[in-house]
């Protein structure tokens, strides 16, 4: 089973990279861009076919290591 994990800086925390990219897009004429959030994309190959078990384990991985809950949110998809 494959898990795709997305980690982003939380909405109420300033994302300095996202802000710099938004400003650059504005300079290039893409003035309609109001906000940019930059995050991480991770692909995990899991040696299990049990969906419920995989969900619980991925959540644990996110809480423990893949995301820092003080500043980041995470979500994931299983396929």
């Amino acid at each position: 089973m494959k898990a795709t994990v997305y980690v982003t800086i939380r909405q109420n925390v300033l994302d300095p990279q996202g802000k710099a990219v938004r400003d650059a897009l504005g300079t290039l004429g893409f003035g309609e861009v109001k906000d940019v959030r930059i995050g991480k994309y991770m692909e995990l190959e899991l040696a299990t076919e049990d969906r419920a078990e995989a969900e619980a384990r991925i959540r644990e991985m996110c809480e423990k290591l893949l995301a820092n809950p003080v500043i980041e949110d995470y979500r994931f998809e299983l396929a």
Binding site: V13, L14, P16, Q17, N68, V70
Partner: protein, 250 residues
């Protein structure tokens, strides 16, 4: 109680009353030599390099987590170092009240490990900043700042790309209420940190984390001697602690 005290004092006498320092070395640490030399040059106490795979820190009185880029700063600064084998021993040492100082990457590791509250973000300017910085000593109650005066301005260099300290409102209120803000930047805030924070401590004051590098400010030749007293402070704190034990044990 009596037995453990006399054992402790016996061990102290055996070492000739010397305070033992450990500098933890992770793959990618690069300020470990500076920390080691700073201990030697400022207070002349015994100091060892301790590799991150060690699991016992019981022989040390003070543990320094140096700057650098542990594990290449992969994922997040300090995120992988935080699970190194030595970290269980470090958490135990913190609980026992041993003296712990995390500098720069060492501070990031203490945050990731949850030994100090908050987290680090990329500098607001997105630039790696490497230059002398003016710091104000906000509290002298920690074991690393007792030789300073509250409000004193220090000149200590910074060198980081991710020193933008962040914590939520509630945590900031708590840090202020418990006198846990140790240093603030004066004048320009180089990284955008919350409330100009440059360093904080835990509630007990035995664990301190800071982005600036006191170990690089221990000689006039290096441009500043203002970092020296962090080392003299902790030696004095250790002597007071053991002196008190000796008196009450008599």
């Amino acid at each position: 109680m009596e037995t453990s005290r006399s054992v402790e004092l016996g061990a102290l006498a055996e070492r000739g009353g010397q305070m033992k320092f450990a500098v933890i070395v992770f793959p990618g640490s690069n300020c470990d030599v500076d920390c080691y030399k700073a201990v030697e040059d400022t207070i002349g106490q015994p100091v060892d390099y301790v590799w991150h795979t060690e699991t016992d820190l019981s022989g040390y009185d003070c543990i320094l987590l140096p700057g650098g880029f542990s594990y290449g700063d992969y994922l997040r600064c300090g995120a992988i170092a935080r699970f190194a084998p030595v970290m269980n021993a470090l958490v135990k040492a913190a609980e026992e009240g041993k003296f712990i100082l995390g500098i720069c990457n060492g501070f990031q590791i203490l945050l990731e490990a949850g030994l100090l509250p908050g987290a680090m973000l990329r500098n607001r300017s997105l630039k790696f900043r490497c230059h002398p910085a003016a710091l104000r000593v906000e509290t002298t109650r920690t074991v690393f700042t007792s030789d300073y005066a509250r409000g004193e301005i220090l000149n200590i260099p910074i060198a980081h790309g991710e020193g933008n300290y962040y914590c939520d409102e509630a945590t900031l209120v708590e840090l202020k209420a418990s006198d846990q803000i140790v240093f603030r930047y004066v004048g320009e805030n180089p990284n955008g940190s919350v409330d100009d924070i440059a360093g904080i401590c835990n509630k007990a004051g035995n664990v301190v984390g800071m982005m600036p590098h006191p170990e690089r400010a221990v000689s006039a030749l290096l441009g500043s001697e203002d970092g020296k007293r962090m080392f003299t402070s902790v030696l004095n704190a250790w002597r007071v602690k053991h002196g008190t034990a000796a008196i009450s044990g008599a």
